[in-house]
C-alpha cells in the first residue's frame, strides 16, 4: 500500500459487524426488496467520405461501442440498503486528459487502468441507518473549494449521526500511465493517490459547518517513460464551510480555503518556501495561497436577490478541481422577480471579474451582464426579451494596445397561440442580434463580428389526435472581415404513439444550406428517428437512428466533396422492483 493511502479495511469490517449484530438483535424476519435498472446498449457509427482518399472530415464517434449499466438497490429491512452503480463501456474512448490515447486500436489497458478509467464506473454504497460505506469509484463533492470534480477509486465512509457529519475517502484518482509516442500518442500520467476528510455539523435547511481536508500525491516512479509535459505533483487543501439559512428565505454562505501545492515533486526540498507539515513538504515549486467564496441573499416565491463573490489566489490549486483557473476575483449581483400576477418574470445578473489579482500578469477585467424579461401579455401573446453584455479588457504590456473584446447580444422572442375546437396552434418567432468587437493589440484597429439569427416555429397540437408535429425555419448570417456566412435551415419533427401507445415513434428531418462568401453553397440533410417500445411495463427497447449527408460546394478542395455519417443506438432497459 502506498504510504499516502490510508488503510480503511478496519472500518469496512466494523461496518459489516455492526450490521450483523443488528440482524441478530432483530426478532422479526427481515423484509427484502430489490429495485433499480439494468440495461445494455449498442452504438454503431459509420462514415463514408467521397471522393475516396479524402480525409477532410474525421470520425467523431467510436465505430462500435457497447455499454452496460446495472444499478440495483438491495433493501434489507428498513435500515440497510445496498445500492450498486455499475456503468461499463466495452471499449475505451479517451481523447483528453491523462488517459488520452486509450482508444480502439490503441495500446491495451492493464486491469488497474481499466477499473480506474473514467469511462467505467463500479461502485457500491452499503448504507445502514446514518452510516454509509463508499466503495469503488466515487465522485464526491465536499465543497466548492476543496474537492468535487474528480472520480476516485477506493473506499471510505459517510457518517451522519444526528447533526454530526464525518466523511472520509481514500483511493486512486488515476493509475500510472506510461507516455507513448504513438500513434495514437498517450499523454501519460503519474499514479495519483488521494484522500479526503470532512468533519462538521449540519441541520438541513438551518445550518452547515464543516472542515474539509483533501490531499493528492503523485507517485514519481509510477510511469516509465513518464509524461513529457506533466510533472508529478502534490496538493493539500483545507477549507471551512459555513452555510446558514434564516427565516423568510434569507441565507448566508461562506467558505475559506488554503492550498499548498507542489507543481513538480522532482525539484529539491526548499526550506525557503512555505510548507504545511506534516501534510506537504516544501519543494522549490511549492506555493501556498488562499481562496474564498461568499454569498448572501434572499430566496422567495416571487423575489430573489443575492450577491456572491469568489476569490482565488494565483497560487491556489487543488487536486479535486484540476481545471480551476486561479488568480481572479468575481462578484455578481443576481435577482429574479415574478410580478403582474405571475405573468411577468425578470431574471437579471450583473457582475465583474478581475483577473490577475496577484499582479503576476497584466490585469484584465471582465464585465458580465445578463437580462431575461418574459411577459405573458394575454392568454395568446407572450414576449421574451434577453440581453447579454460581456466585456474583456487588459492593459497593453509590451504591445502598443491592450486587449479589448466586447460582446453584445439582444434577443426578442414573441409567441402567439390560438385555438379552435380541434387544435391549438403556436407560432413563435425568435430574432437575435449579436455584435462582437475585438481590438488588435498591435494596430489598435477594432474588427466587428455581427451575427443575425431569425427563427420561425409553428407547433400545432391536436385535441383528438396523438400526432405531434412541429415545423421551423431559420436564417443565420455572420459577417466578419473577409468572411460572410449565411445559413438557412428548414426542419420538421413528428411524434406519434402506435400499437396501443406501446411504441412511441419520433422523427426529425432537417435541411441546411450554407453559403460562405461567393462560394457555391454547401448542402446538408440530417434525418433522425427513434422507436421507444415498451415491451412490458418494466422492459423497454429503445432505438435511435440518425444520418447526416453533407455536400460541399466549391469552398474546399476537392470541389463537391461529400460525406455520409450514420449513427445507430439500440438498447434494452429493464426496470425492476420486487415491491410492485
Amino acid at each position: 500500500m502506498n504510504k499516502n493511502q490510508i488503510d480503511i479495511k478496519p472500518f469496512i469490517v466494523f461496518f459489516f459487524l455492526l450490521f450483523a449484530l443488528h440482524l441478530k438483535a432483530q426478532q422479526k424476519p427481515v423484509s427484502f426488496s430489490v429495485s433499480g435498472t439494468m440495461g445494455v446498449s449498442y452504438e454503431g457509427y459509420g462514415l463514408d467520405r467521397n471522393p475516396s482518399g479524402w480525409t477532410g472530415y474525421t470520425p467523431r464517434r467510436p465505430w462500435n461501442q457497447m455499454r452496460f449499466n446495472f444499478m440495483p438497490n438491495f433493501q434489507f429491512g428498513k435500515n440497510f440498503s445496498l445500492p450498486f452503480n455499475i456503468n461499463l463501456a466495452a471499449l475505451p474512448t479517451n481523447f483528453a486528459g491523462p488517459y488520452s490515447g486509450f482508444i480502439p486500436g490503441g495500446p491495451k489497458q492493464s486491469f488497474k487502468q481499466w477499473i480506474a478509467n473514467p469511462v467505467n464506473n463500479l461502485a457500491v454504497n452499503p448504507k445502514y441507518k446514518w452510516a454509509e460505506l463508499q466503495l469503488g469509484t466515487q465522485y464526491l463533492h465536499y465543497s466548492e473549494l476543496s474537492t468535487g470534480d474528480i472520480g476516485v477509486f477506493g473506499a471510505g465512509f459517510d457518517l451522519k449521526p444526528k447533526t454530526y457529519r464525518i466523511k472520509f475517502f481514500t483511493g486512486t484518482s488515476q493509475p500510472g500511465i506510461n507516455y507513448y509516442a504513438g500513434p495514437p500518442s498517450i499523454t501519460g500520467a503519474f499514479k495519483r493517490s488521494n484522500w479526503m476528510f470532512q468533519i462538521g455539523k449540519e441541520r438541513e435547511g438551518k445550518y452547515e459547518v464543516a472542515f474539509n481536508f483533501a490531499k493528492g500525491k503523485d507517485v514519481v516512479s509510477s510511469s516509465s517513460p513518464p509524461p513529457l509535459t506533466i510533472k508529478p505533483q502534490e496538493g493539500f487543501v483545507v477549507s471551512m464551510v459555513t452555510n446558514v439559512f434564516f427565516d423568510k428565505g434569507w441565507y448566508a454562505k461562506l467558505e475559506g480555503a488554503q492550498s499548498v501545492f507542489t507543481k513538480d515533486l522532482t525539484l529539491p526540498i526548499n526550506p525557503l518556501m512555505n510548507a504545511f507539515e506534516p501534510f506537504v513538504k516544501a519543494h522549490s515549486s511549492t506555493t501556498r495561497d488562499y481562496a474564498g467564496s461568499g454569498a448572501i441573499g434572499k430566496k422567495g416565491k416571487d423575489f430573489d436577490i443575492g450577491i456572491s463573490t469568489k476569490y482565488f489566489g494565483a497560487g491556489f490549486q487543488t487536486v479535486g478541481y484540476p481545471y480551476l483557473q486561479p488568480d481572479r476575483l468575481d462578484y455578481t449581483l443576481n435577482t429574479k422577480l415574478n410580478t403582474w400576477k405571475n405573468k411577468m418574470n425578470i431574471v437579471a445578473s450583473l457582475g465583474q471579474r478581475i483577473n490577475n489579482v496577484s499582479n503576476t500578469t497584466l490585469r484584465a477585467t471582465q464585465l458580465i451582464g445578463n437580462l431575461n424579461w418574459f411577459t405573458q401579455f394575454t392568454d395568446k401573446f407572450s414576449l421574451n426579451v434577453n440581453y447579454n453584455n460581456f466585456g474583456f479588457q487588459s492593459a497593453s504590456g509590451i504591445n502598443p494596445y491592450g486587449i479589448k473584446n466586447v460582446s453584445n447580444d439582444l434577443g426578442i422572442s414573441p409567441t402567439y397561440t390560438w385555438s379552435n375546437s380541434k387544435m391549438t396552434n403556436l407560432i413563435g418567432f425568435n430574432y437575435n442580434y449579436s455584435k462582437y468587437t475585438e481590438r488588435d493589440v498591435l494596430t489598435g484597429l477594432t474588427s466587428n463580428n455581427n451575427t443575425h439569427t431569425a427563427l420561425l416555429t409553428y407547433v400545432p397540437t391536436y385535441f383528438n389526435k396523438d400526432l405531434t408535429p412541429d415545423f421551423s425555419a431559420m436564417y443565420f448570417y455572420n459577417d466578419v472581415p473577409l468572411a460572410k456566412l449565411k445559413l438557412i435551415t428548414i426542419s420538421s419533427g413528428l411524434s406519434i404513439p402506435v400499437a396501443k401507445k406501446k411504441i412511441q415513434l419520433r422523427g426529425q428531418l432537417q435541411y441546411n444550406i450554407n453559403k460562405l462568401n461567393s462560394f457555391k453553397s454547401d448542402n446538408n440533410i440530417i434525418a433522425s428517428c427513434s422507436v421507444d417500445w415498451k415491451i412490458t411495463k418494466k422492459f423497454s427497447w429503445n432505438t435511435y437512428l440518425s444520418t447526416n449527408y453533407f455536400k460541399y460546394g466549391n469552398s474546399i478542395v476537392p470541389n463537391g466533396a461529400n460525406y455520409l455519417e450514420s449513427t445507430c443506438r439500440t438498447g434494452f432497459q429493464y426496470k425492476f422492483d420486487t415491491k410492485k
Binding site: T37, T58, R60, R61, M71, N87, P92, N94, F95, A96, N117, P118, N121, D149, G151, T229, I230, K231, L267, P268, L272, S284, T287, D289, G313, A314, G315, Q317, Y323, N355, N356, S358, N359, T360, T361, L362, A364, S396, G397, I403, N405, S407, G428, Y436, V441, F476, G493, Q504, R506, Q508, Q510, A527, K534, S540, N542, S546, N548, E565, Q573, K575
Partner: protein
C-alpha cells in the same frame, strides 16, 4: 625587500587576471513566468563557462536578479551554493537549474512573498546578472554578465459563450452554436492556437468524467481568433423520449448536455502553460444544454 613584495603582489594579480573565466549568458527575453519552469525548459537559460589555460581553484555561480532601477530582487546564497570544479580545456554548459537553483536563491521582501504564494515574480522588466566567484573567498573569477528579460504570466482563455449551464434552443443549436472565449492575456508574441473540444455528456456520466472519457464531437484548432461558429450536424432530438427514461438514473439529462473546453497551444503546438494548473493548458470547462424551447 620592498621590490620583492611588489613583485609578488604583481605576479599574483597577473595570475588572477590570467585566471579569469570567459563566460557567456544566453537568456530568453520573455521566459516563463513560473520560475520553476525555467528548469524544465532547457532553452530558457544557458550559461557557458570556458576555463582559462591554467586553473587551480573551484568556483561558485553568483546570480543576481534586479529590477531595471537596480533594486535587488534576489541573489545566490554563496554559503550553500554548489561548487564547480572547472577542468582545463573543457567548456561547461549549464542551464537554469545550475545557475538559478531556487532552493539557493534568497529573494527579498515582497518578491519572496509573491514567489511563495504564486511561484512567480510580479509582472515587470528584470535583469539577471551572473558572475563566477572563487569558492573559497568569493573573489570574482569572471566579469559579470547581465541580460534583461520581461516577466509576465499568461492567463488562459476564459470560456464565455455558451455560459455555464446555459440552455440553448435546440432549433437554433441544431444549425449553429457560437463559441466565444477571452484571448490569452497578455497577447503572446507568437501566434497561439486555441484547440476547441466539445464532448457530449451521456446518461449516468458526471461532467468532467465525460471530458476525460468520451470522444469529442468537435475537435478543431482555431488560430488566433476567439470565436468559432460550429455547425454541429447533429440531430438534437433526445436519444430516448423523456417518458421512457429509467426512473432511477442518477444523472438524468434533459435534452442533450455537452461540456466544452479550450486548450491553448504555442507556436510549436505545445501547451502554453505547462506548470500552471493541469499542465495541459486546458481552460476551466463549461457545460451547456440543448433542449426544445417552444
Amino acid at each position: 625587500m620592498k621590490k620583492i613584495i611588489t613583485s609578488i603582489v604583481l605576479l599574483s594579480t597577473v595570475q588572477l587576471l590570467f585566471a579569469q573565466f570567459n563566460t557567456t549568458l544566453s537568456l530568453s527575453g520573455r521566459p516563463p513566468a513560473n520560475l520553476t519552469e525555467w528548469g524544465i525548459r532547457k532553452d530558457v537559460l544557458t550559461f557557458i563557462i570556458a576555463p582559462p589555460q591554467s586553473v587551480s581553484f573551484d568556483v561558485k555561480i553568483k546570480a543576481t536578479i534586479k529590477t531595471l532601477d537596480g533594486t535587488i530582487v534576489g541573489n545566490t546564497n554563496l554559503n550553500t551554493a554548489r561548487i564547480f570544479t572547472p577542468v582545463q580545456g573543457s567548456t561547461l554548459v549549464l542551464n537554469s537549474l545550475d545557475v538559478l537553483p531556487l532552493e539557493n536563491i534568497i529573494f527579498t521582501g515582497k518578491y519572496q512573498a509573491t514567489l511563495q504564494k504564486t511561484g512567480k515574480l510580479p509582472a515587470d522588466n528584470y535583469m539577471l546578472c551572473v558572475q563566477l566567484v572563487r569558492a573559497t573567498d568569493y573573489v570574482p573569477a569572471s566579469t559579470e554578465v547581465c541580460k534583461t528579460f520581461y516577466l509576465t504570466a499568461y492567463q488562459l482563455p476564459i470560456l464565455t459563450q455558451p455560459g455555464n449551464e446555459q440552455e440553448l434552443n435546440a432549433k437554433l443549436a441544431q444549425t449553429a452554436i457560437t463559441f466565444r472565449w477571452t484571448p490569452v492575456s497578455p497577447a503572446s508574441p507568437t501566434v497561439v492556437t486555441y484547440r476547441i473540444r466539445v464532448f457530449e455528456i451521456l446518461e449516468n456520466q458526471h461532467d468532467v468524467q465525460a471530458l476525460r472519457s468520451n470522444q469529442p464531437l468537435l475537435d478543431k484548432n482555431i488560430v488566433g481568433a476567439t470565436q468559432f461558429i460550429w455547425l454541429p450536424q447533429i440531430s438534437m432530438m433526445p436519444y430516448v423520449g423523456e417518458e421512457n427514461k429509467p426512473d432511477s438514473a442518477s444523472k438524468r439529462v434533459i435534452g442533450k448536455k455537452f461540456i466544452w473546453t479550450i486548450q491553448t497551444l504555442d507556436n510549436l503546438g505545445q501547451p502554453l502553460n505547462q506548470t500552471d494548473g493541469n499542465g495541459e493548458s486546458l481552460s476551466e470547462p463549461k457545460v451547456f444544454f440543448v433542449a426544445n424551447k417552444n
